[in-house]
């Protein structure tokens, strides 16, 4: 039954946002992933974002047990999972209640009416049934008794218990959505064949339900095949859909192979960084040594040991873990060993919002250690470029003999997007400073003239035996030294070494207006939101707005000042209370910076950005 009075007109859409929501047991992640993969193969550009409850098994039907998966697909460039949902598929009242805010009036909602029982309505804290009380009048609500129809479709399949029958209703929903957006079913059918290999009844059941949903949508003429989304104009090549954390792990694999070093990971599980550990432990075939330590301190210290012994050493964590690693990162900085620290930021402070996103660890990454201890800080900005920046973190650590902190965040780490697969052969070369032979008057603190990177004598090499440590060392011999002037010189050398990295990184680029009234600045995981907001406003005719996004934070690109000077106003947008802007203010005192901040555990929405930018021009 369809309550909408309006007949939908067929239209060709540039982009559409679909959100699947249900109980954590309803299989929404799977449904979303299938829709994503099918659309990707169809040639669309894509961005996705999963949203699951922090509780592993929250009570059925509860508001906090709702799990969701959002997909943004388009024939145009897609840079965020989208703000406004065009189609919401809600499998129960709690899912509807917690997600309705994202659907604008006039847009479509599919609900499983079978789940709108008194019990479920109570659990969702609905006093009256929203399907009956008129509160959804402004939406196109498609009411489907999905559970009943799933059961009906499966009445002839043998060997299924009640639970597996009700569980497959997500495929009914998927079938409907496939028809609505004119997607082929074969990828998902192939998937069933692989996943349930040998379990013929499950293959049959899932395929039947998927078809049932598809034909249901087709037969009910009330849902015209309204939307089509043509393939996007993407650079030709081989693609895959990749999530940010996987991309990060793969970037490290590529860096290890390219540098000819073995990969060592020392880590302790923490949301949302754990999936990098999960991914790397799989790759023993590449000789990856992944060590799950007893805590974050042991995670980073084991990595420091591996770096001393000559491996490409990594530690991965999130904010609270970075806090624990601080002292050891200071050691790595002091002994000048290459070390990659990956911090997948989440909402802070303290335990904060573990499953939500934020950019509030920037100051911690920059300054969260005792003493003068500068390290390289870089940030990835999209799920797929996590690959590039993980690779880049490894390259810079090895070429400059210093710790590198790579910041990603829950938003890009859990989100996914098409990735034009990079072959290791196409990645830049990675040098390192290992030495094999002893020269006269040799010291472990001999430095490369251009970069000030010290050499990297590795245990096992005859003649290069040496001791390093956290105590201040003589700038020439590397022996312990408490000499006042030497300490000041060493402090300056360590800072200069990090500053010189600016010669080994690309310049800052601007998009849209390359000079003008307003420069929008962002860094890290907000690229997608900021880019699409500036694009929209520029498409609307505001041609004097430029956009610069930072991936290199310490040091910053050499041309930063030059770019800042080309605009009348500058606005720095961050998901924190203003951390990057305060770094910019201290460094570039002659400019005035305004700021836009959001600290809700959520990404920026297009509307809020556009509204703010328009006020400024």
């Amino acid at each position: 039954m369809i309550t909408t009075k309006t007949i939908l007109q067929p239209e060709v859409l540039e982009a559409v946002v679909v959100r699947f929501v249900g109980d954590s047991g309803d299989g929404m992640q799977l449904t979303g992933t299938q829709f994503t993969d099918t659309s990707a193969m169809f040639g669309n550009d894509i961005a996705t974002f999963p949203n699951y409850p922090s509780e592993i098994r929250a009570p059925q039907g509860s508001l906090y047990g709702v799990s969701g998966f959002q997909v943004h697909i388009g024939s145009v460039e897609i840079s965020t999972p989208g703000d406004n949902v065009d189609l919401l598929v809600a499998m129960n009242p709690a899912a509807l209640k917690t997600n309705l805010y994202a659907v604008k009036p006039g847009h479509t909602i599919i609900v499983d009416t079978d789940s709108f029982t008194k019990k479920n309505l109570d659990k969702a804290e609905y006093k009256t049934n929203p399907l009956e009380d008129g509160s959804l009048e402004n939406y196109r609500v498609i009411q489907v008794d999905m559970t009943t129809m799933t059961k009906e479709a499966l009445k002839d399949v043998e060997g299924l218990d009640n639970k597996s029958i009700t569980r497959s209703k997500n495929m009914f929903a998927l079938g409907m959505v496939y028809w609505m957006y004119n997607r082929p079913k074969d990828h998902t059918v192939d998937f069933f064949n692989k996943k349930f290999k040998g379990k013929q009844h499950l293959i049959e059941a899932n395929t039947k339900v998927l078809n049932a949903g598809y034909y249901f949508a087709e037969t009910l003429e009330l849902i015209p095949n309204a939307y089509t989304i043509s393939p996007a104009k993407m650079i030709p090549g081989t693609y895959r859909i990749i999530g940010g954390n996987t991309a990060t792990a793969w970037g490290l694999l590529a860096a290890a192979e390219k540098s000819g070093l073995e990969l060592f990971l020392g880590s302790y599980p923490i949301t949302p960084a754990t999936d990098i550990l999960h991914e790397l432990v799989k790759h023993k075939h590449f000789g990856v040594k992944a060590f799950q330590a007893e805590d974050e301190i042991a995670g980073v210290t084991s990595a420091i040991g591996a770096a001393f012994a000559g491996d490409l050493a990594i530690t991965t964590t999130s904010g609270p873990g970075l806090a624990l690693k601080g002292e050891a990162i200071g050691l790595a900085m002091m002994v000048e060993l290459p070390l990659v620290i990956i911090n997948v930021q989440r909402g802070g402070p303290s335990t904060g919002l573990p499953t939500k996103t934020e950019q509030s660890d920037l100051m911690q990454a920059m300054y969260g250690r005792n003493g003068e201890s500068p390290v390289i800080v870089i940030a990835a900005s999209t799920p797929s470029n996590c690959f590039n920046f993980a690779y880049e973190a490894a390259r810079l650590a090895l070429e400059h003999m210093t710790p590198v902190i790579l910041l990603t965040d829950g938003y890009i780490a859990n989100g996914s997007a098409p990735w034009k697969i990079k072959s290791t052969a196409d990645m830049p070369a990675i040098k390192n400073h290992k030495i094999a032979k002893i020269k006269e008057n040799w010291s472990p603190y001999d430095r490369d003239e251009k970069t000030l990177a010290r050499n990297w004598p590795v245990p096992g090499t005859p003649g290069l035996e040496h001791r390093i440590g956290g105590l201040e060392k003589d700038r020439v011999t590397g022996n312990i030294s408490y000499e006042p002037i030497n300490h000041e010189e060493m402090t300056r050398i360590r800072a200069e070494k990090v500053r010189l990295v600016e010669n080994n990184i690309p310049e800052l680029k601007t998009e849209f207006a390359d000079s003008g009234d307003l420069l929008v600045i962002g860094w890290g995981g907000t690229y997608g939101s900021l880019h699409s907001a500036v694009k929209q406003i520029s498409d609307e005719g505001y041609k004097n707005i430029g956009f610069a996004h930072f991936n290199y934070i310490n040091p910053m690109p050499k041309n930063t000042e030059e770019i800042l000077s080309k605009y009348k106003k500058i606005i720095v947008c961050e998901l924190n209370a203003g951390q990057f802007v305060s770094i910019l203010k201290t460094r570039f005192t002659k400019f005035e910076f305004s700021q836009h901040n959001k600290i809700q555990g959520l990404p920026f929405s297009n509307d809020e950005l556009i509204q703010h930018f328009k006020q400024l021009v």
Partner: protein, 338 residues
């Protein structure tokens, strides 16, 4: 220990660095240093393959005085660093040099996990029952009532027994030795090196400045033979100046008996089996106050973490279709955009 190149011949001088040793004169740390420098040439290991890792404390200055590879790291964290070194290059002989505070206070968590995992490396704990470097606060091994700078009226916190803690954490190798006994200490270092798995050696180390004489009752030359039993695998548990005292099991307790009294003969005395997997008796020996058990108390050969990891890696490698990163990147669900 596998080595890649033929083992060179060394003397203790080859292991002495050019750095001036800065421990207080008379400190047992000198004995430990000298014993290690003497043990290394006997181990059959090349100098470039030896790595000393320490935390922070007087004891942790140790790596600076050796001419091998070394790293003086941060307080309590040497086990993590050493584990990383060993896992990165299993060919190295890795030594953790630590104090009672470094290993059991700030580093207590790493200490137990190191022992649990059984990575093939060695740890020497300089137990002086005090914080030396920070000038005399009580440590996790200080006894109740001990007057220190941070317990002027006497320590109220009951101590750990390192051996008990270690065996509780499933240490496969545990030895204890007096800090004034370089000869046996040297041999124990060699034994520890040869042992495959994590070896822990507790040295009863006299701190002449902040806790002088704390072990005198058992380590003093005059009383040593009567107050200590030096255990050797396969030998009867006999001690005493006259070699007439021995240990027997009486119900669930170890008991000291005199050979020749009450019909006791040498046959009745327990024989030390350090290699036994069951640690019940080792635990009793570790707890014993009179005589204090020294020597290698436990030396049970178990699978090491590296062996487990290597076996898995070999298996995964032989079953895998991925030889290069590209094989992975282009595998599975990919699609072409034309």
């Amino acid at each position: 220990m596998e080595t890649t190149t033929a083992v060179k011949k060394y003397t203790f001088k080859d292991f002495t660095s050019d750095q001036e040793v800065r421990w207080c004169p008379g400190c047992d740390d000198y004995v430990i240093l000298r014993s290690m420098q003497k043990a290394l040439p006997e181990m059959g290991v090349n100098k470039e393959d030896v790595v000393f890792i320490s935390g922070i404390g007087c004891s942790s200055r140790f790596p600076y005085y050796m001419s091998t590879y070394g790293m003086h790291t941060i307080h309590g964290r040497a086990p993590g660093i050493a584990s990383g070194v060993k896992l990165a290059n299993p060919n190295l002989s890795v030594w953790v040099m630590t104090g009672d505070g470094d290993s059991m206070a700030i580093g207590g968590n790493h200490f137990i996990h190191l022992l649990r995992r059984n990575i093939d490396l060695n740890m020497v704990m300089f137990n002086n029952e005090i914080y030396g470097l920070t000038k005399g606060q009580f440590s996790p091994t200080s006894i109740i009532g001990q007057k220190t700078k941070s317990s002027p009226y006497g320590n109220t916190q009951p101590p750990f027994s390192p051996g008990e803690l270690a065996l509780g954490a499933n240490a496969r190798f545990f030895a204890r030795i007096g800090g004034n006994n370089p000869k046996d200490m040297t041999q124990i270092f060699i034994d520890a090196h040869k042992f495959k798995g994590t070896s822990l050696i507790e040295v009863l180390q006299n701190c002449v400045i902040f806790n002088d004489g704390c072990f005198d009752e058992v380590t003093d030359k005059e009383v040593k033979e009567d107050k200590q039993i030096f255990l050797e695998h396969g030998k009867p548990m006999i001690f005493g100046k006259n070699n007439d005292k021995g240990l027997v099991l009486n119900k669930l307790k170890l008991e000291v008996v005199t050979i020749g009294e009450n019909g006791i003969t040498q046959e009745d005395i327990l024989v030390h089996n350090a290699k036994e997997e069951d640690k019940t008796l080792h635990q009793m020996l570790v707890r014993l106050e009179y005589p204090l058990a020294t020597g290698v108390i436990r030396s049970f050969t178990d699978v090491t973490l590296e062996e487990r990891e290597d076996a898995l890696t070999a298996q995964v490698k032989s079953n895998s279709k991925f030889k290069k990163a590209d094989d992975l990147f282009f595998s599975g669900e990919t699609y072409e955009v034309k």
